[in-house]
Subunit: 374 residues, 2 copies
């Protein structure tokens, strides 16, 4: 029987069963005890953890043990530029921001400006174009409110005199067989794409290299990026460093309710750069959980779990749990009309994006102080 779903860094297919993904690859689901521990140590709990959007982990218990002993962790996250950032891309960064505030953690942000160049065939996606996108991504990220004293951003091609040396150490322990199995590569894949996973592994131990002693690392990521660290985790310990802890997010649903919003199809995702009108049009395309007719809807009510509008509120645009519950209830009871429901989401997104763009504009001259250069 064919796999019912497939998730790797280059492909997400089928309807993802998040519990099965966790089981298949040995992730531990987040439990009440771990949530309580995060809340106690962090002083609060991010709504994405409460709502099980970040739903699984590796090594998190160990990392919190270390934290309690005074061995503070740093955070590694990143984004591979290929177009404007989407609202879905915000999920790991907002988690990272909360972790920075709650745990005082330093943040390393890798912007692999070679990854999509190597992986995509689009001739318009030159390294020069990606470099522009990379700077825009970096600006979008700092606009979320990262602490300039504790946040370092680096671009792979610019920072390669630090990264490449370490990537070579990783690469020595990874065969083509391994990446072929893990990522579905064939002999016709290019040798840059084949090597790339070594570059993505490096920031998971880079602070330990810099400091000359082991520093725990936490990586918040969406599950499609896990494959890189499945390949690299054993290598990292062979090199003498701690395995990174990982916190796993589900995907922001696509407009039609399938597993993942596509970042590369402009009609199927909301970009941080979208106008009010574009947002409104896109929200109007979202599947709701409502029944086919008003009669059925009155009788059975809607299903907020299936309703993409509800899910957008849940994932990103309604941090207040009580307000979210009211939105879900209205959907469930069938008391909200689809149009009104969608208008509320479009308004919330547009308000969010307006504020975001204002912050971004204000930070334009300040980006350079975040960038690490060799």
């Amino acid at each position: 029987m064919a796999e019912e779903f497939h998730v790797d860094a280059y492909k997400v297919e089928g309807k993802v069963d998040y519990d099965k993904f966790a089981e298949r690859f040995g992730l531990t689901l987040l439990d009440g005890k771990t949530r309580a521990r995060l809340e106690k140590l962090g002083g609060s709990l991010h709504f994405m953890i409460k709502r099980n959007i970040f739903y699984a982990q590796r090594e998190l218990g160990w990392m919190l043990d270390e934290y309690e002993k005074g061995n503070r962790f740093y955070i590694y996250t990143g984004i591979a530029p290929s177009g404007s950032m989407t609202v879905g891309h915000l999920i790991p960064f907002l988690m990272t921001l909360w972790l920075q505030k709650a745990f005082g953690a330093e943040v390393y942000i890798q912007i692999p400006d070679e990854e999509k160049f190597l992986a995509k065939k689009d001739p318009a996606l030159t390294l020069e174009r990606i470099h522009e996108l990379a700077y825009d991504d970096a600006l979008n990220i700092i606009a979320l409110g990262f602490d300039p004293k504790k946040t370092k951003i680096f671009f792979d091609t610019e920072y390669a005199s630090v990264l490449y040396k370490q990537a070579v150490r990783v690469a020595k322990h990874i065969t083509f067989s391994t990446v072929k199995d893990a990522m579905g590569f064939t002999n016709e894949d290019n040798i840059g794409k084949i090597f790339y996973t070594s570059m993505q592994a490096v920031p998971a131990f880079l602070k330990s290299v810099e400091e000359g002693h082991n520093v725990p690392c936490l990586i918040p990521l969406a599950i499609d990026q896990d494959v890189h660290f499945r390949v690299a985790r054993d290598v990292i310990t062979k090199l003498g460093y701690y395995k990174p802890a990982i916190l796993y997010a589900k995907f922001l649903p696509a407009f039609d309710g399938t597993s993942k919003a596509s970042a590369s199809d402009p009609t199927k995702t909301i970009y941080l750069s979208d106008s009010h009108e574009e947002v409104r049009k896109k929200v109007n395309k979202m599947l709701t959980g409502q029944q086919d007719t008003a009669e059925l809807q009155k009788k059975y009510g809607g299903d907020p779990e299936k309703c993409v509008v509800c899910q957008y509120f849940k994932y990103l645009f309604e941090p207040d749990d009580k307000k979210l519950e009211a939105i879900f209830k209205a959907e469930r009871d069938g008391t909200v009309l689809a149009g009104e429901h969608k208008k509320a989401l479009a308004d919330a997104i547009n308000k969010y994006l307006d504020e975001h763009r204002k912050k971004k504009e204000a930070l334009k001259g300040k980006l350079d102080s975040f960038i690490l250069r060799a």
Copy 2:
């Protein structure tokens, strides 16, 4: 039928037929006309070209046309550190030195300090150890007399913020199939070794990137390195740069007369760091072209082409053609005793190495001005 010999960057097997190598891979043998042209434009002709040690080329005629039009070429060469430099390693560097003097060419020297780390299993060959060897290699190279104003040396891991970006552009056009076929890689080779050929391609167009317009490049190399450029030549033109011109050297023969002195077996090669006594012992192990008995030797004479002692004089240690002819004649006529013959070579090598080490010592503080850093 199995191939009667095999040459790639990782393996030299069997007795190399240099003419067949040229035919198989489409090199053009150096002819009298080209030699005369080199002599006319360069004002002299290096003995390694006269003696057909550098015996074949690609694109050399085109490059000399460009030179005559005023479009001066630069030279790219290099060495991958894995131990002390050997006398065999001097061959491309001495040619490069002559080209720099004769044509006023700028020289780019790549020291890929990751290549042997990725290719060899020796646990003592750490990146740190290779870095020490790399500095020693660089010092050995500048001691040959390179012009500090026209010579740039760079180490891959240190200069990666320039090299990696360009290597990624190369890598995008090379599939695993291609390097698998060209270099005999298997699925069990590591992904760093698989990527590496992209890094070796970069200096062949790096000056064109720096200058913002195309600059012809000439690469003097021993034939085992050709495989990297066979893979990269088409890519380089796809990126919009000139194909590099290449000048091909034969291998310094091994002590037993087989094709290539092994750089990694200390009993089978002469290092620049060898003592007088070590040189003497090693020269004593060399095969001569002499007959099995004094009687046969008197009757038939020796064969200087088979005599490794004669070949060492020819390749490196007797630049004077008349003196070399006298050495060959004595061997041919059977008038030289093996002991005397070997003593003369050992003395010549020791004299050369003494002078080399003196120059090296004097340059110790001056290396840094040759090194390119990002």
